[in-house]
């Protein structure tokens, strides 16, 4: 019974009248308030998220072809004796060799003789003797300095595609803010 009377009251059109009011001129100001607010929330503007950067026409079609062409191009093989660390090691080994033989023989007395040795002779010597560059470096006084230099060379070399090691694990350098 009680429910029925409630129901009837809700059907009274007056019940739908808005009992709330706003300060005078509120809606005129509201427009400006919204605009100001949107100015404050500048970053929320959808237009700002639009991509303003463009590319030349047909760029993506040609770009993928360029990448594939580079991948399919024959790999540039760098001979071992062209590697900077190997040249250092070879030079150091040659100096040691000259020093050792210089002590024993009178034939090699001048350091200029070093200049007459070809890369091939030095490489052959290193391969025959199975001397590692680290062994050689460990045996001389400024080995540490040369090792540092070799390390720097290798680090620089990694920046160029020709020297990239394909097996290299990709290290991410993201460290700080």
């Amino acid at each position: 019974m009680h429910k029925n009377s409630d129901h009837n009251e809700l059907e009274n059109p007056k019940m739908k009248d808005n009992v709330f009011h706003v300060p005078e001129g509120y809606f005129e100001k509201l427009h400006q308030v919204i605009l100001t607010q949107s100015e404050l929330d500048f970053l929320d503007k959808k237009a700002l998220k639009e991509n303003i950067f463009k590319t030349p026409e047909g760029y993506f079609e040609t770009a993928s072809q360029h990448i594939i062409q580079q991948i399919e191009a024959p790999v540039k093989v760098i001979p071992l004796y062209n590697k900077s660390w190997f040249r250092y090691a070879a030079a150091v080994a040659a100096l040691i060799t000259l020093f050792i033989f210089g002590m024993k023989s009178e034939d090699v007395t001048d350091i200029d003789e070093f200049a007459n040795l070809s890369d091939e002779v030095i490489i052959e010597y290193l391969l025959d003797e199975e001397i590692s560059n680290l062994d050689i470096l460990a045996s001389i006084d400024d080995g540490a300095a040369i090792l540092d230099e070799l390390y720097m060379d290798e680090m620089d070399a990694l920046e160029y595609p020709d020297y990239d090691n394909p097996e290299m694990e990709y290290d991410f350098e993201y460290t700080d803010y």
Binding site: F42, L43, L48, K49, I52, F60, I67, F172, Y174, Y177
Partner: protein
């Protein structure tokens, strides 16, 4: 083609190059836009994107599927973009201010940029952020990536990213209000 199919085909020497071609076609645009927003200039972005895909090609065999393929590629792209900026600064002996000045000039007058004044102002304001913060802002604001995705890409905690993004937003809003 699904990523897993691309990876299977890449593992087969006979289908490797065609699988890689699919990979490039599938992802090059997303990678390009990510790079472009960092390096700004189209020619620079083009160089960096090529370098990124060559690195991806050389390292894809080592990809152990511990993360999504795209996340892994994004990580490489992110790192290469930051490395490019550092290298450019070093090679041209430029200060950060010089580089910023060049980039602002490119935003205002460079080719292949077509935005209204307010959009360009935002890009200029972004250049005042540290590169890594700008990167996080781009991933969150423009690319709508989730924090956990960005955390995986950058190897940073979600908390640190939220703090970084919040700071970036505050800085940008302040800068834009000053104009």
């Amino acid at each position: 083609m699904e990523d897993k199919d691309i990876l299977v085909q890449f593992g087969n020497i006979n289908t490797r190059n065609s699988a890689f071609s699919e990979l490039v076609k599938k992802y090059q645009e997303r990678i390009y836009w990510q790079v472009r927003r960092i390096v700004i200039d189209h020619e620079d972005a083009d160089d960096v994107v090529q370098e990124i895909f060559i690195k991806i090609y050389k390292n894809l065999e080592n990809f152990r599927e511990a993360s999504q393929l795209f996340t892994w590629m994004y990580r490489i792209a992110t790192n290469e973009s930051l490395t490019f900026i550092k290298k450019k600064q070093r090679h041209h002996m430029q200060s950060i201010d010089d580089i910023q000045y060049d980039l602002v000039d490119k935003i205002q007058n460079g080719p292949y940029i077509d935005g209204d004044e307010i959009q360009k102002r935002l890009q200029e304001a972004l250049l005042t952020l540290p590169d890594k913060q700008r990167l996080v802002f781009n991933m969150k604001y423009f690319e709508n990536l989730k924090y956990d995705q960005i955390a995986e890409i950058t190897g940073t905690s979600v908390g640190a990213l939220k703090a970084s993004y919040h700071l970036a937003v505050k800085k940008i809003e302040n800068l834009l209000k000053q104009h």
